[in-house]
Amino acid sequence: MASVSDAELKTMSQEERARALGMMTEQLTSRSMFIEFKPGEEARFGYPWAPDVDFNKRTEIDADAMTTTEVNAKIRGLMREGFGTIVVKNPRGKHSLGVGILSRLNLIFEGSLGYFGTGLIDGPNVRINGRVGWSCAENMMSGTVVVEKNAGSTFGAAIRGGDLVCKGSVGSRTGIDMKGGTIIVGGDTGALSGFMMQRGRMVVCGNAGKNLGDSMYDGTIFIGGSIRSLGVDAVEAELTDLDRKWLTRKLTQYGLMPDKGVDHFTKVVAGKQLWNYDNLEPSEKKLIL
């Protein structure tokens, strides 16, 4: 799959490594900074160490007497053996389970996770048949994470892509600093959700706490219930037909479609009245500062 070996990667500088992995096209476009794979290089769509797994090859891990490190190492070992569906039993609220998985995998947790569960992932489909603590799927790049019960605060902090779904309610600061992807919450969300959001979409079927979307740069938030208050520079916008179609498709996909449809959702976007909204490109700002 890759033209560069792990040993070679270890000798490279950070910039050289990024280029070798295909993450070389750092572009400044408009007001956002992208780091993306080159679409012409199909072979670059996976990481060089990502194992080829078979989704039909299934196994289980009992995490009860294992440490977080042991569980995560076991998951990697099984992936190297080609297992594409891994069920983790008895996670018992341990922190940082299922983190840093950078390839395709069906990962199922039979129970609840603690903090930072499934953070830093890029590609797997994760189902958590329980609840998660703070910072679930932090910095997620792609894939799906579906939580069947409630989640703690900073759910989906700084995610860049993928679908992150909580069927119950979540804590405060949901989607803080999110840079892409989709967060869907079946219940309520707490204060300061969408704080400094930069891109992506957030859907909350229930109520939102105070200061929703505070200081958001961009992106869209949809709230099905009440909003205690909007944050600085967050404004309501008109729900378009495109929004309705997208909401219907996404909520149906995850079994969260309200009986009364989606017309009642309030759309919140950035008012873009803060100081950082001007016509200068980041490179131009550097020149004048």
């Binding site: 018992r92 609220g93 341990k94 922190h95 129970g111 609840s112 603690g114 903090y115 329980g130 609840r131 603590g133 703070w134 019960k149 409630n150 989640a151 703690g152 605060s153 309610s169 979540v170 804590g171 405060s172 600061r173 707490g190 204060a191 300061l192 706490g209 105070k210």
Partner: protein
Amino acid sequence: MCGIAGLIHRGKTSNVGGEMTSMLQSLKHRGPDSTGFAVYGSGNPGDYVMRLKVAEQEDMGKGSGVRDLIEARIAEVDKRLASHDAQVKSQSRVTPYALRYVLGHSGDTEAMAKHIEEVEGVEILSLGNALELIKDLGDATVVSGQYALGDFAGTHAIGHTRMATESDVDIRSAHPYWAFPYNDVSVVHNGQITNYWIMRRQMERKGHRFMSNCDSELLAVYTAHNLANGVSLEDSLRQSIDEIDGVFTYLVATSDQLGMAKDTMAAKPLVLYESDELIAMASEEVAIRSILPQEIDTTDPYDEEVRVWQA
């Protein structure tokens, strides 16, 4: 960072000492400096349990003279108890510097407590009918073992693992704090109080005493002040969200209640489990899981949320 935990059994007693030990040991990584327990037993009506320390743990390494000093302090405490007509039903030396008394007393407990604390180096950790407050340096297993808490039967408990950020690593600055002089009221806290000095001076002007420079002690004094003025626990917790600045989540226990309050930013964590028999809460779910291994539903209380549960 610090870790806090609380549990309350509804209508029954349980091994709350062992349960809290297990919960706090799970939170050791949040606070390795000291561990504290406030456990609530059934007690004997009319009897007071007094926990006090007569030196800091670190004092014990300061030479043989310390032991003579400690003996002198204990003798002075006993003398002052007698002067307040307190009947010492039992006295046990739990560690070289920590004692537990069971007292019969029908007079002014506040005056007695103040008189005892005037002995240099002596601090009453708790005084009440149901409350026993234990705190020391070390993790939960060490402290629980040292003070024989592993099989303490009671209705509820709160506890704390401390990472010292605002004040020293010593017993004085460890949690829980007893809400002096209010019997049976204790507080644990995770966070930082930013108007601590303003509030402390207000409280001192009203005659309250502070034993440490730890901002968390303010919550105990503040709660004691409110309760002494007829404010209910729930109202005191609600009032604190408006009057106390900073980021905080704290728990308060009384002889038959357990309450929680979260600040306006909800910046400090708390995970809550509620059933008909048991309410358990902690900074991290892993602590609740340590006593409830079966699959359970938990929630995160929101900003400005206040809850009070009855034993």
